[in-house]
Symmetry: C5
Subunit: 156 residues, 5 copies
Amino acid sequence: MPKIGIVDTTFSRVDMAKHAIDTIRSLASDVEIVRYTVPGIKDIPVAAKKLIDEEGCDIVVTFGWVGKEQVDKYSYLAMSIGLTMVQILTNRHVIDVTVHEDEAEDERKLYYIAVDRARKHARNAVELLFKGGLALRKYAGKGLRQGYRDVGPIRE
Amino acid sequence: MPKIGIVDTTFSRVDMAKHAIDTIRSLASDVEIVRYTVPGIKDIPVAAKKLIDEEGCDIVVTFGWVGKEQVDKYSYLAMSIGLTMVQILTNRHVIDVTVHEDEAEDERKLYYIAVDRARKHARNAVELLFKGGLALRKYAGKGLRQGYRDVGPIRE
Amino acid sequence: MPKIGIVDTTFSRVDMAKHAIDTIRSLASDVEIVRYTVPGIKDIPVAAKKLIDEEGCDIVVTFGWVGKEQVDKYSYLAMSIGLTMVQILTNRHVIDVTVHEDEAEDERKLYYIAVDRARKHARNAVELLFKGGLALRKYAGKGLRQGYRDVGPIRE
Amino acid sequence: MPKIGIVDTTFSRVDMAKHAIDTIRSLASDVEIVRYTVPGIKDIPVAAKKLIDEEGCDIVVTFGWVGKEQVDKYSYLAMSIGLTMVQILTNRHVIDVTVHEDEAEDERKLYYIAVDRARKHARNAVELLFKGGLALRKYAGKGLRQGYRDVGPIRE
Amino acid sequence: MPKIGIVDTTFSRVDMAKHAIDTIRSLASDVEIVRYTVPGIKDIPVAAKKLIDEEGCDIVVTFGWVGKEQVDKYSYLAMSIGLTMVQILTNRHVIDVTVHEDEAEDERKLYYIAVDRARKHARNAVELLFKGGLALRKYAGKGLRQGYRDVGPIRE
């Protein structure tokens, strides 16, 4: 049975993993889900690596929440480089779902962004897991967005 | 038969891969093309790595689309570092075609940049694939540009 | 007996490790603690790596102190990338406790932030050490903060 | 016979490699030179790696040209990190000669900077190749500059 | 006999290595010192790596000098990431002594910073070499500074 890893944080202000797991369950009943919670975004890469190496996950989805300060953005950069390295070293996808606190002034808006992004990327993960690099071909260049409405392709 | 990998995203607003494949086909009938579509730029490096490791691609061309925000630029940086690592670890070229949404105000202009860049780098990839490091010698220092008109060399 | 590594610096203006060790001792009497002091933050990653490789530590907590200048932030970024690599290469958590001198104007405030952050992350480390990725599940998405009061989850 | 690798780009507006090769030839008749031309700076690290791994080069000199925009600087950073990794993984020097388009308003000035930098670093490469870490000892702390006049040491 | 590696540059305007070596000699007569001079900071990481791998150095001290421009800071970042990787891959400390030209307007002040920083970090290296992670324990959290006067710990 294919295995999806989920990494989330106690720093986040929205339980994005819950929504993602809900989406995964609705799309595929035949997957095992392993969830791993860490304190903050800089703890995410090793958790993803452990889920792949030690739990045998085929794909991982991570849920980060990033503050507004410049140093938070540097932490985001370090995490992103780390997640890229995890993927390169394991040849497994780690789909990163990150919400930045300065994406919206309004908490309600931020909540919507987080849930929408989590659900859509959960769907992406399921697609990649079951159908690989061909799965998303039909959406190539289509201007899809997660957390926002799709913007669509530029007309020729 | 030599194999070219293509990685593109659903985030992009232009189907650059289509144009690149068209160019490759017009230049070389004897290459196999494998295409891999991922959600966004941070998913590109591992896809390129998988095309090299698992599909045996000799060279890869990637098509990224980057938003206007500072965090998008950090994601671009993480992807760029990742693509560099993929190349170093495999000794294979990964030619990166990236369009930044703030390169042009006008959508039509952005579309032109994307297609021109995709086609020119597809040509670069074919040259490198068939003739290696000597292929582009005649253009060394010539101020070539992709997405824009060539600026040419500075006159002595 | 499980082993926790502690890395701190002479650059720091607060002995955070002392408070972290105090917290660890209060939570778990059955752990060995190995402490390693280095000059500054850029010396931290290798110390963490050595504690894992040479001392057999199961988890490491690091205590950094970062100046106000832009170059200090770049050093923070280099350290963060380094710590991520240490974790990825060893599959061990390295919980990073960093205080930035510009987090507070007032020294007393800065002291409070440092001690609170050290104690809370020491607790996180103990939780992860003994209960793994399930330990923090109940706090996922709860908006926990270290150095500050928890902000809590966003209400749906 | 020792082997020097040369990597340059079609993006550059000055054929720096020509001047560097000229300098190398004037200093050492007994070296083999292998030249590799790539599209832009992000293609440089893997070319340097291939020259070392596949062509057996003992040292490599690379010639990059960087645009004025912030994203160009991030590409420069990714290339620089990549070149550092190539060196660390191979234990070979890769001397990087980079010209930034915003170093001078005037094209003539930029041309002078590029040629001067290329020639001086070609000399550095020859010195390191034949005499190793002792070669440049006499200039340690002397405030040498490439592309500009030497500024000299600070007087005690 | 333990071996200390020294890496410095021709770009630097102060011969920091001379002062560091003087300090090392005054503290420990029983160490071998190997010195390696490179052009600039981006050449430092591989030199440190070679001193460890090829010369068997137990610890390395590096002396960098960084210009005032933003691209100089990116080079500093690339070097710092590189030095971190060298340390992680070898499990050896590389103590980095960097002076930024914009740390002081006055050349005399800059000279003082460079020498003070070089001497104090040379002492740190000797301490770590002979006594390991316990050597600096007594200064943990004490607010030590190199290049400036110690600021001391924050009083509780």
